[in-house]
């Protein structure tokens, strides 16, 4: 049975009506018309749907709307063309990604762990990004970008 839920997303509160078990991703794509999170697997296996809840990267494709308790940040709100997030800036400068369908996952995962602590070794970055998929095989440029953003954020 559908119910009303209040979602706090990108600094705004939205009331949506949905089944309690509907994954957050569908609310983000259909009700809130966010452009960042994508459907890749619906199985928590790829990261394309990643959003940040209270500082932690989560996979919105397996997070029921009824379980969303905190403030959600999506890629749509982390930066603008004039003032991109350091991770976005690095991804653009390095031309990371090709189709960019996966890129939301890599970006948002990196934003979460770099905002928590930007001082990361290359090995840590590789480990923290494990479990994200990129079928275009753009891992080299992604890793260069995250390194660059980490260095910039660490100051």
């Amino acid at each position: 049975m559908s119910k009303k839920f209040t979602l706090n997303v990108d600094g705004k509160s939205h009331v949506i009506e949905a089944d309690p078990d509907m994954p957050l991703l569908y609310a983000l794509m259909n009700d809130l018309e966010k452009k960042g999170p994508k459907f890749g697997c619906g199985l928590a296996q790829c990261g394309a749907c990643t959003v940040i809840q209270d500082g932690v990267a989560i996979r919105s494709c397996v997070t029921p709307v009824s379980a969303v308790t905190g403030n959600i940040r999506t890629l749509d709100s982390i930066g603008t063309k004039e003032n991109p997030h350091p991770v976005q800036k690095a991804f653009i400068e390095e031309e990371a990604g090709q189709c960019e369908y996966c890129i939301n996952g890599w970006l948002m995962t990196a934003v979460a762990f770099l905002e928590e602590n930007p001082k990361r070794t290359d090995a840590e970055i590789r480990d923290l990004l494990a479990g994200l998929q990129c079928r275009c095989g753009t891992h080299m440029a992604i890793l260069r970008s995250v390194r660059k953003a980490a260095d910039e954020m660490a100051g």
Binding site: D19, F39, Q45, C46, Q88, C99, Y101, A130, T138
Partner: protein
């Protein structure tokens, strides 16, 4: 790669378009903010244009602010090809790159140049548009000459301002010359659509020595909008009144529908079943409801004739024994059989490659709005023009050489590497829209994206070589036996080529197309043969095969370049020296030398079996191949964990030659993407199946390369040959990687593994046997 071209004119349909959505407002020669032009949302179409390929205005528009729109009939999926097209046009027109926008992705606005296909974006369509741009410049300069009273030879152009060389006060901008309409200017068109479309004109192409924009690293134009994210992907398309669709797939390959319990989803809001023959899907207003309905719908399947005649474990023996449908020799020089039977030293080897899935990052997505004999389809397919033809054929309104009453609109989606599932997703949307009378958006689920896309073909490759007493290779024999690379066409322009069409019982063509090695080895006796076999199920098979990035390239060259390595060692030669001895094309020599030099190649005539810290086994291997006038050599440096058998490619060294380099920065990334995807296919990827069904259904059952497996370094030497013009770079290096890695395994261990993928268990087993 040759595409089978459908010679169809997708032409002007202003009335239809305007009646559909109110139309946009692009008028040739008028300035229009490019953002408005590019805003291809579902409710704001640009107006349809006259698409006569022999008219300059079809290809290029110059606006009042001297900005330029180039109309391109392919599309880019993140390799920066649209940016490269803009560079080529900016160069010929003598305008700054910022002024040029490449418009693509609408069958009513840009002529069909084949979609993304065979890495021909720059080499074919770019060369045609370059001619159009040169022609546009010539027309504008002639017009300026008349206006300014200065002869053409005494005029120069700088960022769209034409001025007299001797008198800078005599000048006029492109924008000020508007009023001239390129639609009256003729070009010589070769009469072909698709990849082969060619244009000629009066204008002379700029000499490469004068290049200012081509050869520079202009940033990808599409990128900021995808990272900031403002770009509308196909997945974001929403049409008023649209229903969400999901397909229902059988539990085994080829199971048919015995009965459907429609009441089983009656508790789900607005959910409806759409069923005809063995095509079955559900629609609902709300996406989650459609997903639930597809999961909860009860279908009784008849599995009496379902399944496959073999399994992934027995596949290669099955291929060896299978009846041959068609066999040919693509290359036959000298007398291979006689030389081999008369030789005292014959080397033989057999190589095996599994089925692989495209497994796009997002599974298939299609939106279709079919009404009253007309319609629109939205797709992320790399052959999006075919979506319109496909819809018209499903609707029964297709007539050869007539305008197609369906508009196909492309929007970005997950990267696509050949004939993926995207064409099948569009077909599902078309059928669901026709049956419900509503616009329908179909999103496949992950399991469909892995299990139900057309697969890269499996094969067995047998090789033989004869060596004389002086150590010279006197004969080389190569035989590829496997599934056709066009069991379903790489085009998506007919119901019989799609899963939906198969489920609905449409006739389907059968094609036996394969591939041969591409190299310049000058063996006196040399033969490349192939034999094509039937697919494991004729209709609606999850193991139907088609193009998967660099169709048959990785498979064929894994075998041919592994065997070249085997021949090198058998003749007592170093693998690099051996290749240099036998290649006959100087461009091949140059890339092999470049890769070897980058890698500090250490000559060897036996595997070196080097050991590093913790006992890791270290090796390097080389491989090289041509592809459509591009050529690449790759050295892979690998480490093997002897306890687990896990391979890590630590470094790649690449020597590449793609003719003219248009954009070095983006080219590096295109090369890297190929190296990584090919490494993933070499090390990890195999579609597992049993006699019932396919078991590659997600990223756990079909893992690909992860961040932790990424090489530490990729070094590339790019040889620029501007005199040759651009050769495609989208996929040629894909085919070089597998043998480079396998040859490195041999150097590290002394063991030859002739079966892909080189999984830890396979490598460990081989090491234990050695």
């Amino acid at each position: 790669m040759l595409e089978e071209l459908t010679e169809i004119k997708i032409a002007r349909r202003d009335l239809l378009v305007n009646s559909l959505k109110g139309g946009g407002a692009l008028v040739l020669g008028c300035s229009l903010p490019i953002d408005a032009l590019m805003a291809q949302t579902s409710d704001a179409f640009p107006a349809a244009r006259d698409l006569d390929p022999s008219k300059l205005g079809t290809w290029i528009a110059v606006h009042q602010d001297s900005s330029v729109t180039v109309y391109w009939g392919k599309m880019d999926m993140g390799q920066g090809v649209d940016t490269a097209i803009a560079q080529l046009a900016a160069e010929e027109l003598d305008v700054n790159i910022e002024r040029v926008n490449t418009f693509f992705g609408d069958s009513f606005v840009a002529v069909d140049q084949g979609g993304a296909s065979g890495s021909t974006g720059c080499s074919n369509s770019g060369v045609a548009l370059r001619q159009a741009a040169a022609e546009a410049r010539l027309v504008l300069v002639e017009k300026a000459s008349a206006r300014l009273g200065v002869p053409v030879e005494q005029l120069t152009v700088n960022d769209g301002v034409i001025s007299a060389i001797n008198d800078a006060s005599k000048k006029i901008s492109y924008g000020d010359l508007i009023g001239n309409d390129f639609s009256t200017v003729s070009l010589e068109w070769n009469g072909r659509y698709g990849n082969g479309l060619g244009l000629k004109g009066r204008a002379k192409i700029k000499d490469f020595s004068e290049y200012k924009v081509v050869g520079t690293s202009v940033g990808r134009k599409d990128l900021p909008g995808k990272i900031i994210p403002e770009t509308e992907f196909a997945a974001h398309v929403r049409v008023p009144g649209m229903l969400h669709g999901r397909m229902v797939r059988p539990p085994s390959a080829g199971a048919t529908i015995a009965s459907v319990d429609k009441a089983s989803i009656s508790h789900i809001r607005g959910a409806q079943v759409v069923v005809e023959k063995d095509f079955i899907g559900v629609v609902a207003e709300n996406e989650w409801d459609a997903i639930k309905a597809s999961r909860e719908l009860k279908v009784n399947w008849d599995e009496s004739d379902a399944g496959f005649p073999t399994t992934s474990d027995e596949l290669h023996d099955y291929i060896r024994q299978a009846d041959v449908e068609k066999s040919e020799a693509d290359t036959e020089i000298g007398d291979v059989d006689a030389t081999i039977s008369g030789s005292g030293h014959v080397v033989k080897a057999e190589y095996e490659w599994p089925f692989q899935t495209h497994a796009r990052m997002g599974p298939a997505l299609g939106v279709a709005d079919i009404k009253g004999g007309e319609g629109t389809v939205w797709t992320d397919s790399q052959k999006f023009y075919d979506g319109a033809i496909l819809a018209a054929k499903f609707m029964g309104v297709f007539e050869k050489d007539k305008e197609v009453p369906v508009r196909a609109i492309w929007a970005p989606g997950p990267g696509s590497y050949g004939r993926s599932d995207s064409g099948d997703g569009v077909a599902d949307a078309i059928v669901l829209s026709m049956k419900t009378g509503a616009p329908v958006r179909v999103q496949w689920m992950r399991s469909e994206g892995h299990a139900w896309d057309p697969k890269g073909p499996a094969s067995v490759i047998s090789t033989r070589g004869a060596i004389d007493s002086s150590g010279k290779v006197t004969a080389y024999d190569y035989h590829l036996k496997g599934f056709s690379r066009q069991d379903v066409s790489s085009r998506e322009d007919g119901p019989g080529e799609t899963l939906a069409g198969h489920l609905l019982g449409h006739d389907r063509p059968r094609r036996w197309t394969m591939q041969q090695p591409a190299n310049s080895y000058g063996f006196e006796n040399k033969r490349h043969r192939w034999s094509s076999i039937k697919s494991l199920r004729d209709m609606a098979s999850p193991l139907r095969t088609s193009h998967f990035r660099d169709p048959y390239g990785p498979e064929v060259h894994f075998a041919s370049e592994s065997f070249i390595d085997e021949l090198a060692y058998a003749t007592g030669d170093d693998p690099v020296a051996f290749r240099l001895k036998y290649v006959t094309d100087p461009r091949d020599t140059a890339v092999i030398k470049a890769a070897a030099e980058l890698a500090n190649w250490e000559p060897r005539t036996a595997p070196r079996k080097l050991k590093g810290a913790d006992g890791v086994l270290i090796g390097t291997g080389i491989s090289y191949a041509q592809r459509n006038n591009a050529t690449n050599a790759v050295v892979a440096e690998i480490e093997i964990n002897p306890r687990t058998g896990k391979i890590w490619v630590r470094r790649f060294f690449v020597g590449s030659d793609y003719g003219l380099i248009i954009n070095p920065f983006t080219l590096d990334r295109t090369i890297e993407g190929n190296l990584i995807q090919s490494t993933s296919r070499t090390l990890f990827e195999e579609v597992r199946f049993d006699r019932k069904t396919v078991h590659a259904v997600d990223w756990a059952s079909y893992p690909i390369l992860q961040s932790v497996d990424t090489p530490e370094e990729v070094k590339i030497t790019k040889i620029n040959r501007p005199e040759l013009g651009p050769k495609g770079a989208g996929e040629p290096v894909m085919r070089v990687v597998p043998a480079a890695i396998a040859n490195a395994v041999f150097d590290a261990t002394g063991v030859r593994i002739r079966k892909i993928p080189l999984t830890p268990s396979r490598v460990k087993a081989a090491l234990d046997m050695a």
